[in-house]
Symmetry: C2
Subunit: 243 residues, 2 copies
């Protein structure tokens, strides 16, 4: 049976991290909120879960994945669950645990990328926190981006298998998450990424390698891939890019 993924239909957001694992693993799935209501889709079908109308395992927020009795929420946990089930995780226990640590650290990085445009109120408009966003984005660009990107670069360099991956000798969901994060940063902060991308050659090369993997490449050019936009997590506001 296909997996049911629930996420907001009009943004890549955190749901995209899950989609990439499903697509790279070539697993069938329904992207439920993007289906017509006549097929049980729509945001209403998703929010019925959040409202607790589908049993006692109520997710706090999308994304969440439903597989029969299982309901899993939180992006990194869903990705780890799928990756470990479908050959996109390390075999070795220590590496498996470390892949989880990496994916969760990427989730922190993504939260900070979001807060660069929404430092004051998660539920408020960007227009009401523009000046604060400008301040927060400066610290994000100058200090946080190099800190996270430098960490990925060191992990790839230190990987004893020399595979060019973040952990172990094969593609994992941790690599897929890095690819999506770099894509989001290139969209939201093109000037900054053009300036510092060269400092992280192994990281950039890994992201390119992920994108060229046949199942991923086919997905990226399909209609299933949602373009970045200014309702999502990675938003291109030139004033936040230091431009």
């Amino acid at each position: 049976m296909a997996y049911d993924l629930y996420y907001w239909p009009a943004i890549p957001g955190r749901g995209e991290y899950v989609r990439l694992v499903l697509e790279a693993a070539e697993m069938p799935y329904r992207d439920v909120a993007r289906l017509p209501e006549s097929e049980g889709g729509g945001s209403g079908a998703m929010m019925a879960f959040v409202a607790g109308r589908h049993g006692h395992r109520t997710p706090f927020a999308p994304p969440f994945l439903v597989d029969g009795d299982l309901l899993i929420s939180q992006t990194a946990e869903i990705c780890a669950f799928l990756g470990e089930r479908h050959g996109l995780a390390p075999e070795d226990e220590a590496d498996r645990l470390f892949a989880r640590s990496i994916a969760l650290t990427t989730a922190d990085f993504v939260n900070e990328a979001h807060d660069a445009h929404h430092p004051i109120g998660v539920e408020d408009y960007y227009e009401d926190q523009r000046s604060e966003a400008k301040r927060r984005a400066t610290g994000f660009r100058d200090r946080r981006m190099p800190k996270y990107l430098g960490w990925y670069e060191r992990l790839i360099a230190a990987n004893p298998t020399g595979s060019g991956h973040l952990v172990g000798d094969r593609l994992t969901y941790a690599d897929l998450g890095l690819f999506q994060t770099l894509a989001g940063l290139a969209y939201a902060f093109p000037t900054r990424m053009a300036g510092i991308g060269g400092d992280y050659p192994k990281t950039v090369a890994l992201a390119a390698r992920v994108a060229s993997r046949p199942a991923v490449a086919a997905y990226l050019t399909s209609e299933r891939r949602i373009a970045f936009n200014e309702d999502g997590i990675f938003r291109h506001y030139p004033e936040l890019d230091g431009a």
Copy 2:
């Protein structure tokens, strides 16, 4: 062999979530950064891992747990790992996965509690972002606290075992995390919690039950328990409590 926990020595912070699982499970551990340097302790010993001087599995930041070859970072992942190993997690697969989703959602709540006093710069002083913090804290108190607390309350109410726990029929690391979060909120936002605590009777009762469990109660009165303070995640700034 005892576990080695690495976390900042002077704040409860995120490390406290891990300590509570270790203490409730009555597992021996070394709180390494709090040991004297003559015993291999201190913050320097911790930061050597972050600098990549202990093998290729480099954590991005504390807390992290070392157990032989295993190095696990990210608070919720460490708690899930320990809880599943030592009887503080559900047995059932669906409940196990849901406990992980809960712990990760609590980690998001904790991040937001932190950002209430640090909305602009993670690495900057509170004093340089006081007015922005006041705005962000208002939204946190008025909207985010009820949203998270109401979710916990609904989970306990909907738990089919009627155990009073968040998931399944026994104490789990998800409950321990809820206890610590409520304790932190009561410290940081005493006025607000006095005002709304009564709206979440099952949640407050669960936290009290966790605190009265013998191993936890003994720990809470020991010198190992670090008091909340204004260098940590939960900080008591009266102006942010709406007082």
